[in-house]
C-alpha cells in the first residue's frame, strides 16, 4: 500500500468518525429539544449550539465528500476533450480548489485571533475561537483530501473516468 493510499485511509476513518459523532449530537439535540418543549420548557442554548453543529457538519462533511469525490460538478464537457486538455483542466481545477481553501484556512486562522476572547451568547464558557476553528481545520482537511485523491484523478484524466451512472450501476449490481 502506498503512502498516499494509507494516508487516505486514515483520513477517511477520522472524517467518518467525526461525521458520525456530529450527526449523533445534532439528532440528540433536536430530538431532546422537541421532548423538552412538549413538556413546556426549552433549552436556551438549542438554536445556537445546533447551528454550530450544522457548520461543523458542513466542513468536516465537505472534506469527506472531497475524499469520496461527491461534490457537485459538471464532468460532461471535460470528459469529451483529448487527454492533454483533460490533464490541464485537472491541474487548473485542483490549483483553484487548493488556493481557495488555503486562503480560507489562513483567513480562518486570522479570524480566530481577531475574535479570541468572544464566547457563545447562550453558553459563555464556549469560546468562539473553538467553534470557528472548523474553518481553518476544515479547509486544511479539504486540501488533504484533494491531495490524497490526486493519483485517482490523474488516472481518470489519462484514461477517461467511468461516468457517474456506471458507478451507480456497479454498486447496484454489487448489492
Amino acid at each position: 500500500m502506498s503512502f498516499l493510499s494509507a494516508a487516505r485511509g486514515v483520513l477517511e476513518r477520522v472524517l467518518i468518525t467525526i461525521s458520525i459523532v456530529l450527526m449523533t449530537i445534532l439528532a440528540v439535540i433536536v430530538i431532546s429539544a422537541v421532548i423538552v418543549r412538549s413538556a413546556g420548557s426549552s433549552f436556551t442554548w438549542y438554536d445556537e449550539v445546533a447551528s454550530v453543529v450544522l457548520a461543523w457538519i458542513t466542513y468536516y462533511g465537505a472534506a469527506l465528500a472531497a475524499l469520496r469525490r461527491a461534490h457537485l460538478g459538471f464532468p460532461n464537457i471535460v470528459g469529451l476533450m483529448p487527454t492533454p486538455i483533460r490533464l490541464l483542466a485537472l491541474a487548473i481545477s485542483e490549483g483553484v480548489v487548493i488556493f481557495f481553501f488555503a486562503l480560507a484556512a489562513w483567513f480562518g486562522y486570522q479570524a480566530i485571533g481577531l475574535l479570541s476572547g468572544d464566547t457563545l451568547i447562550s453558553l459563555p464558557w464556549v469560546k468562539v475561537e473553538f467553534v470557528l476553528s472548523v474553518i481553518p481545520i476544515g479547509a486544511v482537511l479539504f486540501i488533504l483530501a484533494e491531495l490524497t485523491t490526486i493519483p485517482d484523478r490523474v488516472r481518470e484524466a489519462r484514461f477517461g473516468a467511468p461516468p457517474a451512472e456506471a458507478i451507480i450501476v456497479a454498486e447496484e449490481d454489487k448489492s
Binding site: G73, S93, I135
Partner: protein, 427 residues
C-alpha cells in the same frame, strides 16, 4: 472587476469540472479581492462560517438521515407491496405503483435522487420483467421522483425558505395541491400509455390482501402522517419534524421491522453528513458571494434591466421561468437555488409576487431541471439503474416533463393553486 467577468470565471471553472461550490467561491473571492483588497478576505472566512450555521437548514441533515434509515429498514418493499395491492388492478398497474410509491417515499426523504435510488432498484427490474419498455420504465421512475420534491418535506423548499427568509412550513403546505394535480396527471398519462401499449394488469383487487399489506406497511405510512400532521397542525416546526422523523425511523428500523443493524445505521449517518455537506458548502459559499453582490448591487441592476424590458408581471414570470429552466439544465438544483434566487428575488418582490408562490415556482423549475440533460441528476440515476440510454429515455420522458410544465404553468399563472391551502391554514 465586473460581475460579467466573474460570471465568465465561474462558467470557465464549471467547464473544467471544478466543484460548483468552489467555482462559485473562487469567483466571489476574485470579485471581493478586486473590490476591497487582500486583507478584506478576512470577511470570507467569517461569512463561510456564518453562512453554514443557518438554523432552518438543520432540517436538511435530519431529513436526509431519516430517509437513509428508512431506505435500509425495509420500508421500500413494504410500500411497494401496499401500493401494488391498492392500484395494481388497473391496466399498467406497476406504472401506477411506481408513481404512488414515489409520492409516499417523498414524504419521508425530501430528495428525488434518494427516491429514485431507493425505489428504482426495486421497481424498475420488476417492470422490465413484466414487459414494460425500458425507456418508459426509466422515464416514469425519474419524473415521478422529481414531481415528488414539491410534496413536503422538500430539501429545495427548505433551501429556498432559508435563503429568502420565507416560512418553510408555508412552502410545505403550498406544495400539496400542485403535487396532487401533478400526480393525477401522471397517473392519467401512465394509463394512456398502458392502454395504447397494452401493459399488463398486476393483480385483482382483493380487500383482504390490501388490509394485510396495509398492516405490514402501517408503521412506514405513519412517518409521513407524523411529519405532515405535525407541521400542518402547527405542532412542530420543520426542524422539529425532521428530528422526529429520525426518531421514528430509528424506532421502526430497530424495533418494528428489525432490519436495521449498527453498520447500516453508521452508513446512513455518513451518507447523511456527505449529502448535507455537499449542499451546505454551496450555501456557505453563496453567503460570501452575497457580500460581493450586495456591494455591487447586481440584483438591483438586474431588476431595473428586466423591468425595462417589460413591466407586465406575466411576461416577467415567463422570463424568470426561462431563466430557471436554462440554469436548471446545467446546474444541480441546490446550486441553482443558491446562485439564482438571491439575484432574482428583488424582481419577484418588484412585481408583487408572493414569496411562497415563487418558492413553488422555483421548486418546480428545479424538478424539470432534474429531467433535462446534460446535468439531469435524477434522470441520470434512473437511467443508470435501468441501464438505459439517456437520450432514448428522454424521448419518452418528454411526455412526463410536459406534465411538470403544465403544473409549472398552473402554479405560475394561477396563484390560487398554491396559496389556497396556505390561506386557509394560516389566514
Amino acid at each position: 472587476m465586473s460581475p460579467l467577468w466573474l460570471l465568465a470565471i465561474f462558467l470557465f471553472l464549471i467547464v473544467l469540472n471544478t466543484p460548483i461550490a468552489i467555482a462559485l467561491g473562487f469567483a466571489a473571492l476574485i470579485g471581493y479581492w478586486s473590490l476591497f483588497g487582500f486583507d478584506a478576505l478576512l470577511n470570507m472566512a467569517i461569512s463561510l462560517y456564518q453562512g453554514a450555521r443557518s438554523f432552518p437548514l438543520i432540517a436538511i441533515p435530519l431529513f436526509v438521515f431519516a430517509g437513509a434509515i428508512m431506505n435500509t429498514s425495509g420500508i421500500s418493499q413494504r410500500l411497494v407491496a401496499f401500493v401494488s395491492a391498492l392500484v395494481g388492478f388497473v391496466r399498467g398497474g406497476l406504472a401506477m405503483v411506481n408513481i404512488g410509491t414515489s409520492l409516499f417515499f417523498a414524504e419521508i426523504s425530501g430528495s428525488a435522487v434518494a427516491d429514485v435510488a431507493a425505489l428504482g432498484s426495486i421497481l424498475m427490474p420488476a417492470m422490465k420483467k413484466r414487459g414494460y419498455p425500458t425507456n418508459f420504465t426509466a422515464a416514469i421512475t425519474s419524473s415521478s421522483a422529481s414531481l415528488a420534491i414539491i410534496i413536503p418535506p422538500s430539501i429545495p423548499m427548505i433551501l429556498y425558505g432559508a435563503m429568502t427568509d420565507t416560512s418553510i412550513v408555508k412552502l410545505f403546505v403550498a406544495g400539496v395541491i400542485p403535487g396532487l394535480i401533478g400526480a393525477s396527471l401522471m397517473f392519467a398519462l401512465a394509463y394512456g400509455f398502458a392502454v395504447r401499449y397494452n401493459f399488463p394488469v398486476e393483480e385483482t383487487f382483493n380487500l383482504r390482501h390490501l388490509w394485510r399489506t396495509f398492516k405490514d406497511a402501517a408503521w412506514a405510512l405513519l412517518v409521513p402522517v407524523i411529519i405532515l400532521g405535525g407541521i400542518f397542525g402547527g405542532i412542530f416546526t420543520a426542524t422539529e419534524a425532521a428530528g422526529l422523523a429520525v426518531a421514528v425511523a430509528l424506532f421502526i428500523g430497530l424495533f418494528v421491522y428489525r432490519e436495521l443493524n449498527l453498520r447500516m445505521l453508521l452508513n446512513a449517518m455518513t451518507d447523511g453528513v456527505i449529502q448535507t455537506a455537499v449542499v451546505m458548502l454551496l450555501v456557505a459559499v453563496s453567503a460570501f458571494l452575497g457580500l460581493y453582490l450586495t456591494q455591487t448591487r447586481v440584483p438591483q441592476q438586474l431588476t431595473v434591466w428586466m423591468l425595462s424590458l417589460s413591466e407586465n408581471p406575466l411576461i416577467i414570470l415567463a422570463m424568470l421561468n426561462v431563466l430557471f429552466l436554462a440554469v436548471g439544465m446545467f446546474l444541480h438544483g441546490a446550486a441553482a437555488i443558491v446562485l439564482v434566487v438571491p439575484i432574482v428575488m428583488p424582481i419577484a418582490n418588484a412585481i408583487g409576487l408572493d414569496p411562497v408562490q415563487f418558492g413553488i415556482i422555483v421548486t418546480l423549475n428545479i424538478a424539470i431541471g432534474q429531467q433535462t440533460p446534460p446535468v439531469a441528476s435524477v434522470l441520470m440515476t434512473a437511467c443508470s439503474i435501468a441501464k438505459a440510454d439517456v437520450w432514448d429515455v428522454s424521448k419518452v420522458n418528454v411526455w412526463f416533463i410536459g406534465v411538470l410544465f403544465i403544473v409549472l404553468t398552473l402554479v405560475t399563472y394561477v396563484p390560487y393553486v398554491t396559496l389556497v391551502l396556505v390561506e386557509s391554514f394560516y389566514g
